[in-house]
Point group: C2
Chain length 192, copies 2
DNA sequence: TAATAATGAATGAACGTTCATTCTTGATAT
DNA sequence: ATATCAAGAATGAACGTTCATTCATTATTA
């Protein structure tokens, strides 16, 4: 095993530890020492991989966000019909939030608090462009409501985060049946 | 002016300061000393009104949540039709999130992070019952989709918080036109 | 053995909370 | 009216702890 991959393993361990600890305690209640311990390295080692705590959490955010958007567009092609394309992307997103719960919950926390600075946010938003393009096409075809992409996102994608949070708190169970119903609601809210 | 109202003024100042500072910096990055300074009292005085920092933020949460639900049901009567009742409640909620932005943003942050403990959450959820009852009635009348109240909330109410957050970040402007469109999307998502 | 990676004790700043002290209030006495 | 004073309210310096970060030392690597 070469150095690059050893480094990568430690980096990954630090990122995973950060996600888990920030999910359970919040950013400021997560000491660097605990991140180090959970990742199996010493406190000082973190500073070989990241500039400081803020840089660590920024990089975690960007990396997790990239994994999310990558997942979201699996099997999606630009040429698809608006309805079919949206269904694929929506289901991918729902699946991600179910299967990769820790990562999804971390993103939800970052997106609703002042943990991440503006530059990190911009960076994370970039990769959603294909969905915005699809919606634009849908508007031109008269299939999608002629409203701001923020509204489309708010009503069709954002609600999945709420369902995920409720499932996390044990309030209810997200079954495939629920997912199917939720997709119908998402589509009903944005279709013309 | 008697002592009781003087106390109330200071308490209010402390609660307002907490909301504003937690909104801008997050709970753990808000020192008690800054809350005290912003409220115009000394650090020690906080402990005459609240047990400790956690108790302070819990009480702020419960109080703000109560103000929110109180606002939400203005002008609503149990006997109303489902569609009319929902419209009134939805518009109230939207108006609250626009006009009382600081308070609404504070709630959004508490509801998406581990700041508030479970008991505080339960307390905050209590007061939404009339909306749940209205939805139940709507299901029986075949007007509302026969899905979990969590789904109904996720798709019709929760999205407003996203729009509010985006407006806060200057990403876009929530005009009355946007509100009207958003209401249509909310209704389309839950109606049968 | 030279270069690189990793360690963890040490540092200093910042924080929540306490408490000895000071200030304010308003009832009573003059 | 004015002075006195007891009691509660408020203060803010001080305390003990925790934390992010550093760096002299040690271990690993090639």
């Amino acid at each position: 095993m070469n150095n690059a991959s050893k480094s990568e393993i430690k980096r990954k361990a630090l990122i995973d530890a950060t996600v888990e600890l920030v999910n359970n305690n919040g950013f400021h209640a997560t000491p660097m020492s605990r991140i180090a311990k959970m990742a199996g390295v010493s406190a000082g080692t973190i500073y070989l991989y990241f500039e400081n705590k803020q840089d660590l959490v920024n990089q975690v955010y960007i990396e997790v966000k990239a994994a999310f958007t990558n997942y979201a567009f699996r099997g999606y092609k630009e040429g698809m019909s608006v309805e079919k394309g949206f269904k694929i992307i929506w289901k991918n997103i729902a699946e991600f939030k179910l299967k990769e719960f820790e990562e999804a919950y971390f993103l939800s926390q970052c997106d609703n608090t002042p943990i991440i600075d503006e530059s990190g946010r911009q960076e994370g938003l970039k990769h959603l462009q294909p969905l915005l393009d699809l919606w634009e096409k849908g508007k031109q075809e008269g299939i999608i409501k002629n409203v701001s992409p923020f509204s489309l996102y708010a009503f069709s994608i954002y609600p999945v985060a709420f369902l995920m949070n409720m499932q996390q708190r044990g309030a209810f169970q997200l079954t495939p049946q629920h997912i199917e119903e939720a997709y119908e609601m998402a589509w009903d809210s944005i279709k013309k």
